[in-house]
Structures are given as structure tokens and as C-alpha cells.
Symmetry: C2
Subunit: 183 residues, 2 copies
Amino acid sequence: MRTVDEGTGMSSSSLPSPSGATLPPLERQSFRDGMAKLAAAVNIITSIGGNGRCGFTASAVCSVTDSPPTLLVCVNKNSQSHAVITTSQVLCVNTMAGPHEEISMAFAGGVKDMNARFAVGEWTTLVTGAPVLKEATVAFDCRVTQVAEVGTHDVVFCEVLAIHEGGSKDGLVYFGRKFHRLG
Amino acid sequence: MRTVDEGTGMSSSSLPSPSGATLPPLERQSFRDGMAKLAAAVNIITSIGGNGRCGFTASAVCSVTDSPPTLLVCVNKNSQSHAVITTSQVLCVNTMAGPHEEISMAFAGGVKDMNARFAVGEWTTLVTGAPVLKEATVAFDCRVTQVAEVGTHDVVFCEVLAIHEGGSKDGLVYFGRKFHRLG
């Protein structure tokens, strides 16, 4: 789901193997193939900046702690949304419902123009001004509290300020390089 | 899935609302109810220390970057496994397959004794010595490279050194406070 570009920083491992030989680094493709088997919810991460709304599809989102309510989102440092989020310090995690394959593909890059991505679906706002998809299974309106840099990505920690539930009881999951509906 | 205890650190938000009033912090229960709608793969995180093997069930795992191959795991600072992982600096993420509800419940606290948890399933090791469940959908053998402290939890970033695929094509997901099988 997430496109991952060339990395920077962080040296490769050279942990000795039991025989004492140095291990070669894991192949990038092996890692991707393995990660394809880790099921994940499909989310659209949105933000708002001086040039308007932006958003991208992401599966690398998870809960961190409820004290205070905090989640994290992994954001490619080369992405357009990264610049907006690090400036505005706000974002919304919109968790997709079963029928949201099309909008998920649009925000995954199927539609290039940021404004055009928002032509599909009905959008509102809660507290921060970041776009909230009305029919999302759940939407978490957040402010950024902390960032950890890891290679090509920033891991953005966010305090959840408000939640919207769209009324859908099902979810959309990406697993085995396919969408799956959960009900 | 993950139990989250009392928090420390990190102040509550007091972002002004559009009317200028200060927003109350989000209720912990509202956050938990919202997070129950974010589907996630079920994993058993294992490690090895001076007192032997340990492990716990976690849904807060995600891919970070493939340069170098890196994932993250959120670990409660009060947990027994936290002490082992921060000392040994190794862990294995074992991603559960469809039939793994019982073992997932054992490692979620259904079985208290660490050694007894490993009585179910066949276990092996790859590079680091952390336990690898042979029949996991996929297992990521890792060394810790970086830790970010966020309230009650440490977010542990890990370089993936080796991968095992157990031959299963299905996955186990937690959503709406229930297990779901994906195939």
C-alpha cells in the first residue's frame, strides 16, 4: 500500500551469525513480501495548509497509548503531505469502511491533484481543520506532539483531540496485496 | 487487544476550539472505542533474556521503511517483556494465521507463566535467538535500533534481519473487539 522510496541514513546490520560469519542485509523485496502478509487497516491521512487540503492513503498507522490518547502515522519524508503536516502540525486519520476501495486508490496516487482527490466523498472538519470523511468507519482528529526520524520516513506521534464515527460497522483491510472487507 | 495502563508524562491538550474555549481532553474510553474500529493484524512479540523466553500479543505493529527494512512495535513500559527486550535488544514479530486465536489469547495474558505460554505451538529460532513460531503466517526476526518514549509506552524500532514464512496464506485480524480470519 505505502510506497517506499530510496532510504537515507541508518547503517545496515552486520550482526554475526552463529557461525561467526557476517550476515548480509535482508533483501528489500523479501521485506516487502513479508510485510504484505501483515494485514492492516486502510486509512486516508489528511491535513490542511496554506495551499489547501492534502491527503494520502496509509496502512502504517497504530495506537500507541490512551494516556493521553495517542496514535502514530508513518509519513514518507519525500511526500507532498509530509511538508504540510510538519508545518500545520495537524492531521486526521480517516479509517476506511468496506466500500472505500475507490477513494483509497485515489488517495494512494490514482489521482495526482490534491484538490481533485477530495472530489469523491463528503468532507467536514472537527477541531483542527484537517479534512474528515463523513462516511469513514472512524476518524481521529489530531495534533502532532512528537516526531521520530527513521530512514526515509518520519514517524509522527499525534494526540487525538476529537473522534467522528461515520456509522459504518465494517472496515477495509489490505492483506496479501488485496483489499478485504471486514464486517 | 493491547492492555494500556495508567500514563505518565505528556501533558493533555488544551488546543483552543473555534469559539475560543479550551477543549476538554478526549475521554480515554472514547479513544478505546474508536481504536476498536481500526483493524489490525494479531502478532506475538517474543524475546529471549537471562530468564528464558518471553512473549506477548500485540496489534500495535507496523512497517516503517524498507531502507533499511524496519518495523515498529509499541511495548508497555510496565510489562515483563519490556525489560527483556530493552536488555536483549532483540525480538521477533510472529504474525498470526487464521487458526491462532487460542495461542493469541494465551500470550495476551490468558496464560500468566511465560514458559507455559510456549507450550502451545512449535518454536524455532532464526538469527537473533528470539522465539519464532513455525506456523506463523510470517515472522520477522529483528534487532532494536531506536526507541521513542511516548507516555506509558516505548515505541521500539527494529531492523529486520531475517524472515520466516510458515506456509499459511491466511491471517488473523482484530476488529470490533473480535477476531476475524482473512484468506
